[in-house]
Amino acid sequence: MIPSAFEYAAPQSLAEAISFLQGHAGQAKVLAGGQSLIPLMKFRLASPEYLVDIARVPGLAHLEERAGHLAIGSMVREAVLEASPLIRARYPALLETSLVVADPLVRNFATVGGNVAHADPANDHPATMLALRAHAVVEGPGGRRTIAIDDFLVDTFETALAPDEVLVELQVPQPAAHSGSAYVKLERKVGDYAIAGVAVQVTLEGDVCHEAGLGLTNVGSKAIRPLEAERFLVGKRLDEDVLRQAADLAATAAEPVSDLRGPAEYKRAMVRTLTVRALRKAAQRAKEA
């Protein structure tokens, strides 16, 4: 399949990329790893007139903890995140998310930033970023701004990015003491989109849940934060009964539609099951942390 013709730009700096976007407002699309955008272009579901490849822009591939958060530069490849000792030691939900994005070949080029900025409700990182309460740092002609992930994810394929802004990094708060996180995805086969996915982070004080963050994949027009479930968990001991009640609330928050991956009610039931599993894992990790 051949995409529509486009003009390609490979800026050598962020300023150059932004200036190009500004000069071609609304007609240009940022290309990171291309592993979601190129298939869309081949199916001609997207036909941008200009592609601005940010792969050669320096300073976008950092992955490090600083000033209380983990900074994930927008050109960090999934495979890099997956192999990072820091991620493996401290961010289990991020690791488990990367490991189920497409397949290992795709992950050599796919980026975490692209997975979020593409804003496909079937992508896995948006839900995890919700659970971890991440922020997106974007830069445009007017400078940088930091946007809470809830506000960054607007709708299907739609983010808070202005046409002349570039996602620079994702900031994930460093986990507090006694925190645990997990991402659990149900997929028909490797490389498929989720039937449903659930990301969780809990922080314990003693054996009581002090903070809870949740995110749901592919059961709505964008990744969903089940707010009622989060509120319910705070102040509770995470026994099986509490997990099941929280899972009921998460399932209620889901807005699945019937499609080739199953009927809506099945997906809702899977959200319930996956929420219990993810909470169990995260709670166990929080106890061990």
């Binding site: 529509s4 013709a5 190129i38 081949k42 397949d103 795709v106 050599n108 080029f109 490389g191």
Partner: protein, 166 residues
Amino acid sequence: MAEVQLNINGQPHQADVESRLLLVHFIREVANLTGTHIGCDSTSCGACTVLVDGLPAKSCTLFAVQVNGADISTVEGLEQDGQLHPIQEGFFEEHGLQCGFCTPGMMMAGVALLERNANPSEADVRHAISGNLCRCTGYVNIVKAIQYAGAKMRGELPERAAKEVA
């Protein structure tokens, strides 16, 4: 149009191409190396797998301009001086193919795995080829073939007679 230069199996290939030209089409139609196959053409099957600067990737899902200047390895680069690469010998010895359509991609994914893990377990191999589909073999012999290549590269298997290779 964009000027693209790629080193494919150590040979420089330069051409003025459309920005929308996919890497797989550059390899097949500009460099005339048709060993790299196009299967699903939608990032699922891995028949088009090549190494880009040593990393396995699906060449139907990269634009040639994106990887301008890169070193590309394809199935044609495996055999050296009439000697099969251990991975090719492995597929031969272990009956790792039937129709052969997925084989170039499988072998490139296998080579990339063996580069970073000389002695992969069955689970390691299955993970490494989880983005490559085979509709014939059921994968069992493909896993054995890649493990055979690992053993060969570790020097644990005897040299094959040259006439068997030919």
